[in-house]
């Protein structure tokens, strides 16, 4: 449901940069979405289409890339993916937000919580 507000922020960013470059048209936009943002690409695309209607980005190709979650442990120095233990009873993957190596909760998420407009291709007039 938060796709609407994120799409607005993405559209503002894209149109601001395109305007600063004097773009007459935006051809493509590359966006990286962290898996811990729980943003649905389909819903984001829907909202971006609404935001970009009647703008230079109206026909832009929007490319999404998913970025996996990674954490850094302050206790043991581990850096990598969190673990997801299988609960065989209900077939649910129950993730652990603790360090998968030492079990400490003193962790920092170093990847996977962002929504980044990486780059875009524009068409500039003569």
């Amino acid at each position: 449901m938060h796709e609407g507000s994120i799409a607005k922020a993405i559209a503002d960013t894209v149109l601001h940069h395109a305007g600063a470059e004097g773009a007459e048209k935006i051809l493509s936009i590359e966006i990286e979405i962290g898996e811990l943002t729980f943003l649905s690409f389909d819903q984001l695309k829907f909202w971006l289409d609404m935001e970009f209607k009647d703008t230079p980005a109206g026909e832009a190709e929007i490319k999404f890339t998913s970025v996996e979650a990674r954490l850094q442990c302050d206790a043991c120095g581990f850096s990598g993916r969190p673990s997801a233990e299988m609960d065989t009873g209900s077939h649910l993957a129950l993730p652990s937000l603790a360090c998968p190596k030492c079990g400490s909760s003193r962790i920092e998420w170093i990847q996977g919580r962002d929504a980044v407009v990486r780059k875009m291709q524009i068409l500039k007039p003569d």
């Binding site: 449901m1 938060h2 609407g4 507000s5 994120i6 922020a9 993405i10 960013t13 894209v14 940069h17 395109a18 470059e21 773009a23 007459e24 048209k25 051809l27 811990l36 943002t37 729980f38 233990e85 609960d87 209900s90 649910l92 129950l94 993730p95 652990s96 937000l97 603790a98 079990g103 400490s104 909760s105 998420w109 919580r113 962002d114 929504a115 980044v116 407009v117 990486r118 780059k119 875009m120 291709q121 524009i122 068409l123 500039k124 007039p125 003569d126």
Partner: protein
């Protein structure tokens, strides 16, 4: 001929909220105000817990509450009964509070006259996770009437939470919900989360919750 050009943008759109959240935290710290962001489904008992906390803490703390909701003032009206100033934020369609709206709300409060601000977020277990408000702590409220899978189905809401209240403990047996199982699942997800069983209707467990939230007497006590 128009020219094709590639532009490097490298802009994280969630950073704007994070910067505002840090500014809110700085404002609160400068005024020596503790703050709590309360997350949970509609009907989990967030408002009742806020009311119970105010009832117990208002002799030691000068408290204000901020109630987030889509359209109604039901929560704010209920909290007002406890005698604390309360501001209602109606988000319209937005499914979460954000740091910008909290920053604006802080400006309308007399921060020199406050020690504690309790913020009840919009009843949603996914969206608020990406929008820190700049509070000192986050608490999640889950009630047994939401069934036995509330913790495992929403593991990531605990990411930034330090306390989990499992509410409506009096109804656990009738609902056939094992509260200890909910607790162990929460601890499996986040081993340092403090889990407290509460009945916000009667106030049972609220003192334990206040301990878990580490709400020590303020400077004016």
């Amino acid at each position: 001929m128009p020219e094709k050009k590639e532009i490097t943008v490298e802009e994280n759109v969630l950073d704007a909220n994070r910067r505002l959240a840090l500014a809110n935290l700085d404002t609160l710290n400068r005024k020596h105000i503790r703050s709590l962001d309360i997350l949970g489904s509609i009907g989990s008992g967030k408002t009742s817990i806020v009311k119970q906390c105010i009832r117990r803490l208002k002799k030691d703390y000068r408290i204000a509450a901020i109630a987030g909701d889509l359209t109604t003032t039901i929560d704010a009206d209920r909290i007002k009964e406890e005698g604390a100033p309360v501001l209602q934020i109606n988000t319209g369609g937005q499914c979460h509070l954000d740091a910008a709206v909290i920053g604006k709300t802080l400006k309308s409060l007399n921060l020199d006259d406050l020690d504690l601000i309790l913020i009840e977020n919009v009843g949603n277990l996914i969206c608020p996770g990406s929008f820190p408000l700049g509070t000192h702590d986050r608490m999640v409220v889950v009630s047994v009437t939401e069934g036995p899978y509330m913790v495992v189905k929403h593991p990531y809401i605990f990411m930034d939470a330090s306390v989990l209240a499992i509410n409506k403990m009096d109804l656990a047996e009738i609902m056939g919900v094992d509260m200890n199982r909910l607790k162990s699942e929460a601890l499996q997800i986040k081993p340092d989360i403090k889990v407290v069983f509460t009945n916000a209707k009667t106030g049972e467990g609220i003192e334990n919750l206040i301990d878990a939230l580490n709400l020590k007497p303020p400077r004016h006590a």
